[in-house]
Structure formats: C-alpha cells, structure tokens
C-alpha cells in the first residue's frame, strides 16, 4: 500500500510537468483524467486510515534523496491522514470541477500544471517527515499559488494580488526555514518522528522565544491571520476553482497544520498560548465582522474563511486536549462546507454572470440542486444540527468554556463571531435563493440541467459527507484519537456524537442562533453601520499600505542603484582603487612592525640603475606625450626594460618571452594606431590633478606592499620540489618549461584555450567588415576587368 502512495505522489509531479503536452492530446478532458490521481491517493489514504491502529504512526521510506542523508519519507499518522484525506479528496473534486469551469480559459495546460504542482507539494508538505523537506514543499505551494492567483495575468488587480500573496507567504517561508534550522540544531534531528519519539521540547532553550516567534510568523502569514489577513480577500481574483481549493482546505490551513505538527515540540508555554489566542481571537472576530459588509459572494466567503482560520489558531492556542480535538474536527468541518460554498459561488457566477449577492434573487426555482446543497453547507457553517458543523461548534464552545481564566474574553468574542456567521449564512441564502416579489426574474446564461454533472458533483459530495459525518460522527473517532495521541501524547478516546444533552454549551448555541436571526432581521441598519466602519478602516487600508510600502521600497532601490551604477567607467575604477587603497593602508597600519629596515638592501648595480631610470623615463613619457606613436614606442621601451630586468635575475625564458611579446604587441599597435583617434585632453585640470594624486598614492602603496611581500617567508617554498624532481620525474632540465608542460600542464592547456578564444573574438569582431571589404573588392575588380575584356 505504502509504495503505491509514494508512486502516486510522484505521479502528481510527473503529471504536472507533462500536463502542457497532455493538454494537447486530451484538451477539455485533461482535468477529468488528471483527477484520477488524487482520487487514487484518496482511496489509498482511506485504506490506511481504516487500518490505522489507535496509537500507531509509521514512516514510508522512499529511495528519493533530496539532500544528503535526507530521504523523502512519508509520515502516516492521524494528523497527516486527516489533512491528506481532505487535500486529496477536495483536489479530486476540484479537478473535475475545473475541467468544465476552465473550459473557456486560455492556457489551460499551464493552469493544470500549476494546480498539480500545488496539489503534489501540499500533500508532500503534510506527509513529509523531514522538516527541511517540509519547508521545501511549503515554498513550492507559495510559488504555485502565486501562479494560480495571478492566472488572469492580463488583469492588473490579479497580478497585484498574486504578488501580495507571494511576498507575504514568502516572508513566512523564510522565517520557517530559519526556525526549522534552529530546531534541527537544538534537537539534533530534522525528522518529526525522531522529535516525537524522543519527546523533545525546546521550551527551556534560550532560543525558544526566537524560534516560536518565527514559527508563529510563518503560520500566521500562511494562514492569513491578522495583521497579514489581507492577502486572502485579494486572492479572490483567482479563478474560482483555485479559491475553492487553496482557500478552503489546503494552502491557508498549512499554517494551522504547522502549529499542530510542532505542538509537541514547541507548544504549551504561556507565550505560545497567549500569542496564538490573541491573534486567533482578533482574526476570528474581524473576519466575521467584515464578512457581513461584503457584497461579492467570493469575498464574503474569503472573510468567513479568515474567521474560521482564526478560530482554529485560537483553538490550538487554548491548548487543552478538548481544544485540539475541536480544532481538528473544525478543520474537517470547514474544509467540507467552504469547499462546497466556493464551488457554488463559481456555479452562480457561471450561470448568472455576477457574484454580487444583492443583485441576485429567486434562484431556487432555476437552480434547485445548487440551492439545496448551499443550504446544507450554510447550515454547517452556521453550526446547526444535523451537520458536522454543529458538532464542531459545540466542541469549540466546550473547549472555550473550560478555560476559566480567559473564557470571559474569548467566549463573548467567539459567540459574537458565530452570531455574525449565522447572520451571514442566512443572508447568503436569503439573497440568492428566495424570491423577492418586487424584482424581475434573473435571466440565466445556462439552465441547471445544462450544468455538467462534474461541476455539481463537488458541492453535492461535500454537502452529503457533511451530513453523513454529522449523523455518524463516530467514524472520525479513531482518526482524531490517533492524531491527538501524536500531538499531545495523550491516550484519549474520542467520542463524537451529535447530541450532548441539554447543557451550557447547547444553551449558548441556541442563544447564538437566535441572535444570528435577530441580526439578520436587522440586517439593513447593521450592514450600513458595518460598511461605514469599513470605510473608516480603509484609512488604514492594509493592502494599499502594503502595496505603497513595496512601491516605495522599489523606488528607493532604483534610486540608489542609479546612483551607484552611474555608467561612468572611470568612477567605477576610482571607487575600486580607493577602496583597495584604504584596505591596504589599514593592513599596513596593523602590521606596524614592518621589517623593511632590517634587511640590508642589496648592492646597487650601476647598469641596472641605468636600466631602471631609462624605463621609468619611458613610462612617464608614455603618460604625458601627445603623440600616439611616441607613446607606444615608449611603452615598448619600458617593456624591454622589464625584460632586461628578468634577464638580470636569471629568468631567461621569461626575458625572451617578454621581448617577443612586447615586439608583437607593438607591431599590432602600430598597425592599428593611425586608424585610432588622436590623443585629446578630455578632462579638465582639476580632474587630472585629482587622478594624479590618487594614482601616485596607489603607486606608493603598491611599493610598500611589494616591499612587504618580498619578505614574506613561506614555510616551505614549493619550488624546491620542482628543482629536485624536474629531471628525475619529468626528464627535463629547463625547470620553467617542465613546469609549463608537465607539472602544471593543465594550466597551460587552459591558457591555450583562452588564447584561442581571444583570437576567435578578434576574428568575429571583424568578420562582417572583412566580408564587405571582399565583396566591394570583387565588385571593384569586376568593374575594372570588364572594360578590359571589351577591348
């Protein structure tokens, strides 16, 4: 079984790469065929889930090696199975759905590539046992989501939203990498299974707060928590299948998953508790609050998603067994109803052409199936029986009530949020499906019969599973217990049931529903108030603020780049020389005990002195002469002087080469010289003076460095080796030549290659010119010869 799973996950990536080609063959059926892969994965995982022993998790090792010593290994336990089942299951439905939904889009092949990459990396992220590999998959999901959100890349808004999402989640990814490396360093292993087996907890480590901050940053950016929540509504620019997939059960839940996965290693401290609770609370309340004021169906759903994510983070933060259980169940609940609702939003948009809920009404008659499915999903969202949502909400209330020290704050907030969610749910249904007498009927682009069954299948299946799990919640018991065992190391027998008995929790629930209905009845003043508040909030409009700060940053970068990269060749060199000079000066200053005076200077030979003087004069003349030819000849003189110097110190080969090279160079230069412009004084006097001073300074420093370097005593000069072995090993008497052709032959080989390149370069620079010259000549000679032949 395990092997099949591995192969299937690999197959996703393979399919992702080949999708553009497959699309060429399968066209509109691509999504349909591709959906078999997640379906098979779902079945595999279901089988695993049914066979999973209560307190057992295991590792599927694979031969795929990402990094040395880090195999791609899959970890199968309750937590990963819950996430994996939802990801693959909803993935299957989404692929079916997008086969039709995307039918009119361009570049569908690319769309499926991104979607498959996203799906594969999401599954990989959830199951990978190694934290580093998990991070890699985490980043792939960010990148894939960037392409998916910006799929309509011809729209400015879409591109902006995609960039925003990428920047924010990418920032989170960086902090995750940092945190993961720190954890690995502290614990000595990057493997989750090792961490769990050894019961390592980093709570007492001095770096704990740093790591925790980084992890929380990663989680709240990915899971769109306040104050990073704004990328999620922006991401609604994506095609609806993308929103339905990324923003219901997968991408945004990655942060929650991360918190749950690392809970045994990091969790349970006061800092963990309060930071997560505060973030979660704010997000939960704000999300629900903003959802009430929206008109766009997808945006409403986005804000309710934010609220739901806040709830999950809050539950993880409350940090009791019950709250963790509630978080897990709520994750399932949310994935089921939100995925369905997004798909419904897509159907409504396709059939009516708008997503504005206030522009629609009375769709029940024309879209009965959709309406019923929506009703079920909304009931789950509002937390009413008999849906699984009811169980989830009951558990949440129960968990929150257990915490006497903070429940006075959390409970009102979450009840408030839930009241608003109930109102939102009723409002959506009321606006979309009930008929208003005073308005005309909505004209549909399609009838429901014409909606292909693959599009309806998604919401229907999700709604039905919501009902089924609500009626028979004990199906989840084993999985949740197992997940709890690996999260809290608690042996806990989960018993989920629809009916808890008449207690405080139920009373709060009833109160919630009733208040929700009340708000719905008062919806007009309430929405007006909320819209007013949203306008007021817009002064601190986070997306704009974010975009502006990014833009300003880019402007600043461009400005500084223009200043540094000014394009003036000599100022680059000047900077370079000055910096080198400063560094050399610093080093010379640090080596205060220079030993120049210690060694007696060698005897000054008169003929060498003459040589140096002549060469120096030639060099100075090169600089100041106005004649090009004179400059070159003076340069040659100095070169010959250097050759003589080599000869004087016994480097015969060197001297010969220098002589010859200097000669050849002068010949080439003289050939070209009269085709080059005359020397002109382009700089003014001030610049020349400045350059003169700088170059003199550099000369002085170079002199000092040479003097210093000359007395460098390397421990054992390697030259002795050459002197001793040149004849015995390489059968050559000329040591320099032996080094060139034998000991260091590889260098020489490289050099010959470089020379070949240089010659080829010269040729290719002139190739066209030579060709035109030849052509002209041929024409010219023809003109010349033709009259001759006539004669």
């Amino acid at each position: 079984m395990g092997n099949i799973l591995t192969i299937l996950v690999a197959l996703i990536f393979v399919a992702a790469i080949f999708t553009p080609f497959l699309y060429g063959v399968w066209r509109q059926k691509t999504g349909l065929y591709l959906s078999f892969i997640p379906l098979l994965i779902f079945i595999c995982l279901l089988v695993e889930a049914l066979h999973l022993a209560p307190h057992e998790g295991f590792i599927l090792d694979t031969p795929i090696v990402f990094l040395p010593g880090m195999n791609l290994a899959f970890r199968i336990d309750g937590l990963t199975l819950i996430f994996g089942l939802l990801i693959s299951g909803i993935g299957f439905l989404i692929l079916l759905y997008s086969a039709k939904y995307m039918a009119k889009y361009e570049r569908q092949g690319h769309f499926y590539t991104y979607l498959m990459f996203f799906m594969g990396s999401m599954i990989g992220m959830v199951f990978s046992d190694n934290l580093i590999i998990m991070f890699m998959f985490w980043e792939i999901t960010s990148v894939a989501s960037f392409f998916l959100i910006g799929f309509d890349h011809h729209r400015e808004k879409s591109r902006q939203a995609a960039l925003q999402a990428l920047l924010i989640t990418g920032f989170g990814g960086l902090s995750l990498l940092f945190a993961v490396i720190l954890i690995g360093n502290i614990c000595g292993s990057y493997n989750v299974s090792d961490l769990l087996r050894q019961h390592i907890h980093v709570g007492n480590h001095p770096h704990y707060y740093l790591i925790l901050t980084l992890i929380i940053l990663a989680a709240i950016t990915k899971s769109a928590q306040f104050p990073f929540h704004f990328w999620l509504p922006g991401a609604m620019e994506a095609p609806t299948p993308v929103s339905a997939y990324l923003h219901s059960a997968t991408m945004v839940n990655a942060g929650v998953f991360l918190l749950m996965r690392l809970y045994p290693v990091m969790g349970g401290t006061v800092f963990w508790k309060y930071s997560l609770m505060i973030t979660g609370c704010i997000t939960m309340f704000l999300g629900a609050f903003f959802a009430l004021g929206q008109r766009d169906l997808k945006r409403i759903l986005a804000f309710t998603t934010i609220s739901a994510l806040g709830t999950m983070v809050l539950l993880v933060g409350i940090d009791t067994t019950d709250s963790l259980k509630a978080a897990l169940v709520f994750f399932i609940v949310h994935g089921l109803y939100k995925g369905g609702l997004f798909m419904v939003a897509g159907i409504v948009e396709k059939t009516t052409g708008t997503r504005d809920i206030y522009a629609l009404h009375g769709l029940f008659r024309s879209l009965p199936i959709t309406a019923i499915v929506t009703l079920l999903a909304l009931v789950s969202m509002a937390g009413l029986p008999p849906m699984l949502g009811f169980i989830g909400k009951e558990l949440i209330y129960e968990a929150k009530m257990q915490l006497p020290d903070v429940s006075w704050l959390i409970l009102p907030l979450s009840v408030g949020a839930n009241i608003m969610l109930v109102a939102v749910a009723i409002n959506i249904y009321y606006q979309l499906f009930t008929k208003k007498k005073d308005r005309e009927d909505i004209v549909l682009h399609y009838k429901e019969r014409e909606i292909p069954f693959t599009m309806l299948l998604g919401p229907v299946v999700l709604a039905i599973s919501g009902v089924l799990l609500g009626l028979y919640p004990q199906m989840l018991n084993a999985l949740v217990s197992n997940a709890l065992y690996f999260m809290g190391n608690i042996v806990y027998d989960t018993k989920l049931s629809l009916w808890h008995g008449y207690n405080d929790v139920l009373r709060v629930s009833i109160f919630t529903v009733l208040s929700g209905i009340l708000i719905f009845i008062l919806r007009k003043p309430v929405t007006k108030l909320i819209v007013k508040m949203i306008v007021w909030f817009d002064i601190y409009h986070l997306p704009t603020l974010f975009t502006n700060s990014i833009n300003n940053y880019l402007k600043g970068a461009a400005r500084s780049t223009n200043r540094i990269q000014h394009g003036y060749h000599r100022y680059y060199l000047l900077t370079f020389f000055l910096v080198v000079m400063a560094l050399v000066a610093l080093q010379l200053f640090r080596m205060k005990n220079m030993e120049i005076t210690d060694t007696a200077p060698g005897p000054v030979k008169l003929h060498v002195l003459m040589l140096l003087i002549v060469s120096s004069l030639a060099v100075v003349y090169t600089v100041f002469t106005k004649s090009r030819l004179a400059a070159i000849i003076a340069l040659g003189v100095s070169g010959y002087g250097i050759a003589m110097l080599y000869l004087y110190y016994g480097a015969v080969d060197l001297a010969i080469t220098q002589f010859l090279a200097e000669t050849v160079l002068m010949v080439i230069f003289v050939l070209v010289i009269y085709y080059l412009p005359e020397f002109a004084i382009l700089s003014n006097k001030k610049t020349r003076l400045r350059d003169g001073i700088i170059s003199l300074g550099i000369g002085v420093f170079v002199t000092l460095v040479v003097l210093e370097a000359r007395f460098l005593q390397l421990n054992e000069p390697i030259s002795g080796f050459f002197a001793e072995n040149a004849y015995t090993m390489a059968h050559g008497g000329n040591i320099v030549n032996v080094i060139l052709v034998d000991f260091r032959a590889l260098d020489t080989m490289g050099e010959i290659a470089v020379l070949t390149l240089a010659a080829t370069g010269v040729y290719s620079l002139f190739r066209f010119q030579i060709k035109t010259i030849k052509k002209l000549k041929r024409r010219g000679s023809q003109e010349l010869t033709e009259p001759d032949s006539n004669n």
């Binding site: 394009g567 060197l654 080059l676 412009p677 382009l682 000359r710 320099v736």
Partner: protein, 117 residues
C-alpha cells in the same frame, strides 16, 4: 637594489592607474598594458629574487640546488601571464578599433548607456 625595483613597480602602477582613469579609450588601453607588466613584476618580486642562478639543471646533474637558482614557479606563472596578456591586448585593440568604427567616439563618458549606438 630590490627597493629600487619596488619603487619602479610603484611608478608603473601610478602611471597605469592614471592612464586607466582617463576618458580617452586609447590611453585606457595603454594603462592596461602598463598595469599588466607591473603586476608580472610584482609576482616576480614576491618569489624572492636572486642574482644569477638560471633555473636550469646542469647537463649530467640530477637535481638543482634550490638555493642557487631563482625560483622557477613564478617564472612559469609569469610566462603564462605574458602570453595571455598578449592575446588579451590584441583583443582589446581589435575591440577598440571596432568600437571607434561603430560609434565614432573615443570618449568613454559617451559610453554610459549600454543600449547606445
């Protein structure tokens, strides 16, 4: 003696740097030649120079006394460097000629933008 050569190298560098900082491209090329020569000399000096002592093993002898000959390794390196700089100089000259041909200017300040004709 070595001090004098060190000063000579310094002079070569000063002149080379001055030429490289000019705006006229011909002068820049001359500067590059000077700098490459000077750098070769530095390498030569850094090896520790000795009067005489050609780095050749006598006929019939098996080994040479490292203390008597001048260091062969920097010599081999410089030999390579000289030939390479010969090839490079030829290339720079050709490039310069072509550049002047196409743009008609020899002022480097005119060459600020990459997309310039």
């Amino acid at each position: 003696m070595e001090h004098l050569i060190a000063i000579f190298i310094g002079l070569l560098y000063a002149c080379g740097v001055y030429l490289v900082l000019r705006r006229s491209i011909v002068k820049v090329i001359l500067g590059i030649f000077l700098l490459s020569n000077a750098t070769n000399l530095i390498i030569f000096m850094a090896g520790g120079i000795k009067r005489g002592g050609v780095a050749i093993i006598e006929e019939g002898a098996e080994v040479a006394d490292p203390s008597l000959i001048s260091d062969p390794l920097p010599q081999a390196l410089i030999l390579t460097a000289i030939v390479i700089s010969l090839g490079m100089s030829a290339y720079i000259l050709a490039l310069k000629y072509r550049y002047f041909d196409v743009t008609g200017t020899h002022d480097l300040d005119q060459l600020k933008n990459t997309d310039q004709r």
